[in-house]
């Protein structure tokens, strides 16, 4: 006797098969063993309910992605990982609450990372990523949410001790300090330098030399990646404009807004690249093409465009001052002359 599946059952099956990543209607149909129009109708229902979204639409080649809204860029995690995260988040919130406190979003995320990174917690398989403010859990740690202990964690006592250790160590520190300390703990040079640069940019008075010194270190630390050459190319574009501004005697201080906006846009692009690297290297690496196509591609493109716009703004400051500058004022050092001598026969041709 054939047992007919209920609507609820089919919808659950559809959602379950979309856990691993986006699929076309045809792929879903095969997995749930149903016909095309039924699956299509249910996917439309689920879309109206905000549980899935159509990410590619071309007549019959529609592709759907599951929406959880609880991970960065909706990059999928397994149900098991989700339960573990929620349980860990619940334990952290509980500990803060016993002290009559609610953690900031940064403290919350960094505390979770502290636990996950410690192998004795038994949670080191949970995915963590480098993003804008450093190393964070891939599932968004939101202190305003109610989390429950959904599973029994094997090393609960150890986990609680690690949480206590973190809270005791950082109780009196601000989010910014905790964040910076984490960047130093993992020796992430680019993050350390970005912290230093934002610190300098927030000072009342800027010294050109101080800005240049950090940017020089930033150039050294910047990755040059065959897969993503534009990260280096765009970084060099930004740094070069700022360096040229100082060479033609512009006081950077006078263009605080333009420099801040440009560097901020650059950092947002770099941070997204770091997230991409976190998810495509090491254990549980995701398929690169899929990650770009379905999760990060559009944000990457919009950040690239925003950066290019801010670069135009900064460049206009430089060009407005360039016309009156006498390049003969610049004296070439011996090293620069020798670099030129070496490059003299270089034409740039492939």
């Amino acid at each position: 006797m054939v047992i007919r599946k209920t609507t609820k059952q089919i919808k659950e099956e559809i959602l379950s098969c979309l856990n691993e990543g986006p699929l076309s209607i045809e792929q879903v149909r095969i997995k749930v063993e149903s016909n095309w129009s039924t699956v299509n109708n249910y996917l439309e229902d689920l879309s109206k309910d905000g549980k899935v979204k159509e990410i590619i639409s071309a007549d019959k080649a529609k592709i759907y992605q599951r929406i959880f809204g609880d991970t960065y860029f909706d990059i999928p995690i397994t149900d098991e990982e989700r339960k573990k995260f929620r349980t860990l988040f619940s334990l952290i919130i509980q500990e803060y609450k016993t002290r009559g406190k609610i953690p900031t979003k940064t403290c919350f995320a960094k505390c979770a990372v502290h636990v996950i990174k410690n192998e004795s917690s038994g949670l080191s398989d949970l995915p963590i990523i480098w993003y804008l403010y450093g190393l964070i859990p891939q599932m968004i740690a939101d202190p305003a949410k109610e989390y429950q202990e959904e599973i029994s964690l094997e090393h609960k006592t150890k986990i609680k001790n690690l949480i206590l250790e973190f809270i005791n160590k950082n109780e009196k520190k601000g989010s910014g300090q905790i964040q910076k300390e984490q960047h130093r703990e993992y020796s992430e040079k680019l993050y350390i330098l970005a912290d230093e640069f934002f610190e300098v940019l927030n000072k009342k008075e800027w010294k050109n030399e101080e800005v240049l010194e950090i940017l020089n270190k930033f150039f050294i630390a910047c990755p040059i990646d065959n897969e993503f050459p534009e990260i280096f190319d765009l970084t060099e574009t930004v740094l070069s404009i700022i360096r040229k501004m100082t060479l033609i005697k512009i006081e950077l201080q006078n263009y605080r807004k333009e420099i801040l906006l440009t560097f901020d846009s650059l950092w947002k692009l770099i941070a997204l690249y770091k997230l991409y690297k976190s998810k495509t290297t090491g254990k549980n690496a995701l398929n690169k093409e899929m990650l770009l196509k379905f999760y990060l591609g559009s944000t990457l493109e919009s950040r690239r465009m925003t950066l290019k716009e801010t670069i135009l703004e900064l460049n206009s400051v430089y060009f407005n001052n360039l016309a009156n500058f006498d390049q003969n004022q610049i004296k070439l050092s011996k090293d620069v002359q020798e670099i030129r001598k070496i490059m003299e026969d270089w034409t740039g041709e492939d």
Partner: protein, 214 residues
């Protein structure tokens, strides 16, 4: 009346790297621009190639810094620079390896920036006309030239010059290319083009190759 000058990328790039110790051709390019008499014209393909050169040079400098920071790093393993660039990267590394990393990076950056300032100021102050944006270069014409000379970037620039020459008084095509665009090769190109495409109404600009000017 003197003729206007349609400038090739290498003339502007050489101009940007001039200093008193520069070799002869760099000095010639510098002086040609310094002693400007008539209009200077650049096309979109030259502007694009200049941008590409800046990017390539920065990448070479970056991998030199990478090597100074990590001696185990091998230039050959990097695919972001071409094989032709590796000997230059090696020489730069040998010259700079004993400097502090920050110092080496700073000197390389200074070299890039000064050259860029020269180019950018030149383009914004001394160029009289920017012509034929990239999207307006006729692909068919590029391909016809490509059948005779191999360098694709040169083909785009030459195609732009030919397109412009159709509607202008004879101007100079000013280059410092000693390979594909020496006077003999240019004559060969003209002859071949006329032979291959006798019905085309393209006129070639007059070549001024600074390599072959005393």
């Amino acid at each position: 009346m003197e003729k206007d000058s349609f400038l090739d990328t290498n003339v502007i790039f050489n101009y940007s790297t001039y200093n008193e110790q520069s070799k002869e051709i760099v000095k010639k390019c510098y002086l040609y621009i310094y002693n400007k008499t008539e209009k200077f014209i650049v096309c979109g393909a030259v502007l694009e190639e200049l941008q590409e050169i800046m990017v390539k040079r920065a990448r070479i400098h970056k991998i030199v810094i990478k090597k100074i920071a990590d001696q185990n790093y091998s230039f050959e393993e990097d695919h972001l620079i071409s094989k032709r660039d590796i000997p230059f990267a090696k020489q730069l590394y040998e010259r700079l390896k004993n400097l502090r990393l920050e110092e080496a990076s700073l000197e390389l950056a200074k070299e890039r920036d000064l050259s860029k300032i020269m180019i950018e100021k030149f383009l914004s102050v001394q160029i009289d006309e920017k012509v034929i944006p990239i999207e307006q270069i006729q692909t068919e014409l590029i391909n016809k030239i490509h059948n005779i000379i191999s360098n694709h970037a040169d083909c785009k620039i030459l195609a732009s010059a030919l397109q412009l020459q159709r509607e202008r008084e004879l101007f100079l095509f000013v280059t410092a290319d000693g390979k594909d665009l020496d006077p003999n090769s240019y004559d060969f190109l003209k002859d071949q083009f006329e032979l291959n495409y006798p019905n085309e109404k393209y006129k070639f600009p007059e070549l001024l190759n600074l390599m072959f000017v005393c």
